[in-house]
Symmetry: C2
Subunit: 313 residues, 2 copies
């Protein structure tokens, strides 16, 4: 359900302030035999609280096998509308054209990003021609015009007026609009200096502490839901900004396909952020009461409440 942004969201945020604890009444927790860890709550979530991720919304990247010959597959969920729609269309075209096949991972900057695409993309004489029909996306699509209702909190966020999870996605609220945020695993579109917004053929994934300064400055288009370790454990780049100095250091990309073009893909689901299970999970992330902890924090930043994803049982 879409509503005008500020009118709908800010009262909701205000109502939930000042503590995440408000999202899950203590009485529900008091009835439990012992406090559950966040993943125990996820494990007990009923089937109805899980939402399917359509194969058409997946991007499947197969890297060249590792030194031991093991396959390395990275599965990316594309951002749903109403966020970042322009780039998503381009990405579907690039994947359908098999354009990424034979390109490579060109940059691995520690505590920041892994980046892939055409290593010669900046060299007009050698760059691989892009598929026909890509759209030039405007900067105003870094934010959405409206946001559906979802789990939200007005917790203390250093970067925006509030944060929430809408349609399974972490977002921030600000007068300029709602925008998906950069967390560990977030996938975005490499670009040159503004006003360039990037085509979507050059992508990056976050492999460190949330670089939230990028929010609203660059396009978020998805998140890694499986196989991020194949990116985060790659050798770090040897040159400036974590780019590899030599071609031999790059990891080849065998193929990137839309999920609909990949046989035998598992059925993925995310824990619906409109469900009671998600509210309990988010509360438990912010207030760890499981036995290892002695002092629950009373809060958690939006990137420390990752949306659970699983293979459908």
């Amino acid at each position: 359900m879409h509503k005008p942004l500020l009118a709908a969201v800010l009262p909701l945020l205000a109502a939930l302030a000042p503590s995440l604890a408000a999202a899950a009444p203590p009485v529900a927790l008091a009835s439990e035999p012992k406090p559950l860890a966040p993943l125990e709550i996820v494990g007990q979530a009923p089937t109805a609280d899980w939402s399917a991720i359509a194969p058409a919304d997946l991007l499947v990247m197969d890297l060249a096998p590792d030194a031991a010959g093991k396959l390395r597959r990275v599965v990316i969920q594309l951002l749903p509308p109403p966020f970042s729609q322009g780039w998503i269309g381009n990405i579907r075209k690039v994947a359908a054209a098999h354009w990424w096949d034979g390109t490579s991972i060109n940059r691995v900057q520690d505590n920041y990003v892994v980046q892939w695409g055409d290593a010669d993309g900046e060299d007009a004489a050698k760059a691989k021609p892009l598929p026909q029909g890509l759209t030039v996306v405007a900067q105003d699509q870094y934010t959405a015009k409206a946001a559906p209702e979802g789990w939200a909190n007005a917790q203390h966020d250093a970067y925006a007026a509030g944060t929430g999870v809408v349609l399974g996605w972490p977002v921030s609220y600000a007068p300029g609009g709602v925008a998906p945020v950069h967390c560990y695993g977030t996938v975005g579109v490499g670009r040159n200096m503004p006003p360039d917004t990037g085509t979507g053929a050059e992508l990056y994934a976050v492999i460190g502490h949330a670089p939230r300064q990028l929010d609203r400055n660059i396009a978020v288009v998805g998140r890694v839901i499986e196989g991020i370790e194949h990116l985060s454990s790659l050798p770090r780049g040897t040159g400036d900004l974590g780019f590899y100095k030599t071609a031999a250091e790059r990891t080849p990309i065998r193929a990137i396909r839309l999920g609909t073009d990949v046989p035998d893909l598992p059925h993925y689901q995310y824990l619906s952020t409109e469900s009671a299970s998600f509210a309990r999970y988010a509360d438990a992330r912010a207030n760890r009461r499981d036995p290892f902890y002695i002092r629950p924090a009373g809060g958690a930043d939006i990137c420390n409440i990752p949306v659970p994803v699983r293979h459908a049982p």
Copy 2:
């Protein structure tokens, strides 16, 4: 200069709210020819703004060479007083006894921690005997009784009343005391269920988004200042919680020594958090005005303002 915690810190925080921008007056920035990126500010910091890190406060870990035969050295700065003193004494004794030599990295959990020590430590029959004279540290040392003045902000932090950088260290302020926080690269003490607080012989380093839920629940004892990529790029663990299932997967530790016992170590310095350069750097991290950015965030969380460290020129 030490003061009672709450009386000293909370007015300071209140004075700096609501925006980091208050820490560096706009007029100072308006006189610049173009807005500088954070690392440009660091590069221009005068010599007087850098503080030496004593070799006695360094822990130097040499891993077995990688597959290509390259050395892998990780340098850790130990936490200064008044934070976590009990464990630091134990760590000095464990290093002096060469106890870690021949142990291994046993756990690499993606977006969480790398952990090292005696892989058989949980097996009383096989555990390597600890050095004599280790102290049992009390839980109340997770927080400090007092904190010197430093750069601070009352920015929106989800986990505590406020955050700051004191003696070059990111900390959080709460009624229970000031405590070092868990950021990317933070080193802490593995422990069993409370009230166990760990000895310091089993250590971990954060390799993902800041797990701030650990603050005040486990001992922070340092941070990696060089070579974190040798930890963060290790193959992820194959078993529960990222522990390796087999001994062959573990990375051997050749030696861990105090900096005073390592010849030819570089001289390390950190950007003094009491300096004008640090205030400008922190402001620029929170308000990116360099040409790549179109919308400065107006804030940054404490773990997104890492303290710059360099080799002395």
